[in-house]
Every structure is written in structure tokens, then in C-alpha cells.
Symmetry: C2
Subunit: 240 residues, 2 copies
DNA sequence: ACCTTACGACAACGTCATTGACGTGAGAAG
DNA sequence: CTTCTCACGTCAATGACGTTGTCGTAAGGT
């Protein structure tokens, strides 16, 4: 075996599979994302990927060393899609908000991949572009470098953390997912007011709120706090 | 088959295994945590768990319906450990800060398990106690119920999101972990100032900051923003 | 038109979660 | 102290999983 994987730029022979498909890293990544989007959490296996591609499962290993290698490629693809078409407006707060929501949205669209990929540092092109963009927004806003870096770190990890958390909920097998949902109705809805006064008082609010993502609100909180730390409050008053 | 699992309080016959171990839910949970702590996340399989217990793998199914059921028990155990010995001080901001840091710390102590458990809603006793405590702190601070619930949601999910993200970094195999670390030195340290001015300007700061967790800073940002929304700013001015 | 070799296909291995059947010994009943 | 029964540990089997070694073939350079 040793080296099954030939680097993409050196590929020359593109033999079609039995079913007539010409494989490539890009096609495999796209197919994997589609697979996850259409058939949910547990659909991302090498065997099913092979079937979806119209190829033998082992053909995938001609393009990726293993599933982890494929996963990093998926991760960078997701970052790329999150950024696709984004332009800075010059309003740092609106820009960060948009980037955060885009990351979250891109990952929610492919929960199973997101769950596995959100915590990896790829160091690949799309990730680098995102880091540069976010740091650019913060430095242009007037934050000194050490604070810009700290805010960058908190902002990105908050986005990825929520993205992974919310993706995990979407990626659960349907049964476990329904059970998670039910918990807020059942277990928390039935607690007595004398033993659990605070839960009892807010149970309906809880059940409703926990169905949504907590990210948009958490993002706004973070941005509000960051705005309050801006050295010269440049024209935009903190939100009430 | 139908009902293999007998509820814990009704168990009477405790036959020892061939190797003389007397099983119980608690013993299985503790063994699972130890297994995961010693041999990594991928060591948590029913087969290896059986081996570590000194029992046939299928014996686990006498105590947990499936691996997901076991996972929820692990998750609740971690929440319980995070809360162990905590007492409210009456200072809502200090209390929330302490709870957040405790959650983060407890999960970092078992990164492999945290990674699997952080995103599950268990609805079990330890989790319920934590929810009640956090809601209590917020309502006592004077937040109206709808806002208390929203803040609870953002606070908890941010804590769990960071906990899972940081746990994931700790849980990587040493080689991959060093590689992830190296990315910030290597890939990001070498980018040219004319193509990536912002990364180039902050590369050493980035490399240093990304080695630590972004959570404490993000937590302080969230608490600062929350403090700014308190209806009557009760005695504690927002941090500068 | 030849030759090399990239790469798709096949078959196999070991591990996984899970289940049905079995039998044994602990504990209740008298 | 004996008997009964069923809880629960064990065994065997199933189908899906990732991954690898081997082989044949056709694509592309010469």
C-alpha cells in the first residue's frame, strides 16, 4: 500500500467507475455533504459514500488517506461556504454579527459534518481567509492588537462552540432527538413548585426557548460587551 | 427480549460475573469514565467496557437500554461533579461566573467523555438541580422571567459549547494535538504581510492566545453584557 | 502502438452495537 | 430446610462499519 493517495494537482488518469462517474476530491466532498444533508446524521459512512458516488467504497481511499482526512476537507469546505460572497460593510458590529450568523448557518446545514469538523484547526485556505477577515474587521474598528486577538478568539470559539452544540442536536438519531425535545416538556414541565420553584415558574418559557438556538442572543450579548470596550466609542452608542 | 432493563431501585438479585464482579449502574458509569479517561474517547465501546468490568459485553444491556442511555448517565454524572459543593453567595454575577467556570473545569477533567456528553439534555437529577440553581440566581438578581430564561439559555449553551470545544482539543491524540498547535506557529506564522496583513501583524499574539481557552474572557464578556441589561443596576457598576 | 502505472473493483479482516436463547444460582415462600 | 422461579450473566449470531492487499484494466505519455 504505502501511498494510495496521489496529490490532486498530479492526477492525470481519470478512469470512470463502473457506473461511469469520474471521481475527484471535490466531487467526493460535495457528495459527502449532500449525503449528510439528505439522509441525516448516520449517512456519512465510507460505504454509503461509495454507493452515492457510484463507486466501490475503497475508491475513496485513492483520494483521502482516511475518514479524518476527508473530514478536514469537509471542514474547510464548510468555512468556505460560510464566507462565500461576504463583503465587509465598514460597520464592524454588523460585520461580525453577519460573519457569526453565517458560520452558524453553514454548519447547521450539515450537522453531522459540523459536529466532527467544528473543533479542528485546518490551516487550509478557507480557514486562513476567515481569520484574516475577522482580524481585519476588529483592527479596523480600532481595537489594539492584543485585545483584537482576544476578541477574535472569544468570538470564533463562541461561534464554533454554538455551531457544534446546535449541530449535535440536529445530528442525533431521530429517536434521541425527539427524546431531547421531550425532556423540556415532560421532565421539566412536571416539577412541583415547592421543590423546584424557579423551573416551575418558567417551565413554559423554558420549553419554548430551548427549542430555538441560543446563539443569536449570545452573539448579541458578546457584541454588546465588545462595543462597550471599544477605546473611542466611534459614533455607535451601546444598545440599551 | 422486550424489557431487559430493570429499574435500579427494584433490583434484588445481584449475581456476580464469572470474574466475581457485582455490577450496578453506578459501577458501570464509573468504569466508563475511567476507561475514557485512560484510553481515549474511542475506548468507550460496549465490548471494551465489558472487558474492563470483567463481564460479558451484553451484560451492560441489563442496566442500560443502549449506549445512548449510558451516555446520558455519564453526562448527568459530569454535571453532578461540576456542581458538587457549590453554594450561592448572593452576588449573582460572581455566582454565575463560578458556575460557568465549574462546568468548564469538570468537563475538562474528562475531555473524552465531555466531548460525547456535552450536547445532550439528560433531564435527570443533577441536570435538574443545575437548571434550578442557575434560574434561581437570575430571578433573584431581578431579571423578569422571559429574560431570565433567555440569559439562562445563552449562558448554559455558551458554557457547554466552550467546554466541548476545549475538551475536543484535549481529547485529540497527542500527535494530532501537537499538529493543531503547530498550525498557529507554522501555517499562520509564515503568511506574508502583503497578502495577509492582519494575521502577519498579530501572529505571535495569535499563537500565544490560541493555546489557552477563550472561555474565561468570553464568559466575562457575556456577564458584562448581562449586567448592562439588569432592570435596576443594583449596586454593581459595569466593568470598564 | 506500446508500456507503464493510476486507480477502480473485489474480497477479506477485525471491530462495532445489539439481540435471542439459554441456564444457573440468588432469594422469596412455606 | 426445601422448593420454586425468574433475574441476570453468558453465549452465539447478525449485519454494518473502516480499512487494506491484491489484481486487472484502461488512460496517457512516449
Amino acid at each position: 500500500m504505502a501511498e494510495r493517495v496521489v496529490p490532486e494537482p498530479q492526477r492525470r488518469r481519470r478512469r470512470p467507475t463502473k457506473q461511469g462517474v469520474v471521481l475527484s476530491r471535490q466531487l467526493i466532498v460535495e457528495t459527502a455533504l449532500r449525503l449528510v444533508g439528505q439522509h441525516g446524521a448516520e449517512a456519512l459512512t465510507v460505504r454509503r459514500l461509495g454507493a452515492a458516488l457510484g463507486a466501490d467504497p475503497s475508491a475513496v481511499y485513492r483520494y483521502f488517506r482516511n475518514t479524518d482526512d476527508l473530514l478536514l476537507a469537509l471542514a474547510d469546505e464548510l468555512i468556505g461556504r460560510a464566507q462565500h460572497g461576504w463583503r465587509p460593510t465598514g460597520d464592524w458590529r454588523a460585520d461580525l454579527r453577519e460573519i457569526g450568523l453565517r458560520i452558524h448557518r453553514a454548519y447547521q446545514a450539515h450537522p453531522q459534518a459540523a459536529l466532527l469538523a467544528a473543533h479542528r484547526t485546518t490551516g487550509r485556505s478557507h480557514e486562513i481567509r476567515a481569520v484574516e477577515a475577522i482580524l481585519g474587521v476588529l483592527r479596523a474598528a480600532g481595537f489594539p492588537d492584543p485585545e483584537a486577538v482576544r476578541i477574535y478568539h472569544a468570538f470564533v470559539d463562541q461561534s464554533l462552540g454554538f455551531a457544534a452544540l446546535d449541530a449535535a442536536a440536529l445530528a442525533l438519531p431521530p429517536a434521541a432527538r425527539a427524546a431531547d425535545d421531550e425532556v423540556w416538556q415532560a421532565a421539566y414541565g412536571r416539577l412541583a413548585a415547592d421543590t423546584h420553584p424557579h423551573i416551575a415558574a418558567t417551565a413554559p418559557l423554558l420549553a419554548a426557548d430551548m427549542r430555538r438556538s441560543g446563539y443569536p442572543y449570545a452573539l448579541d450579548l458578546l457584541l454588546a460587551a465588545v462595543a462597550a470596550r471599544l477605546p473611542r466609542p466611534a459614533g455607535r452608542p451601546p444598545r440599551p
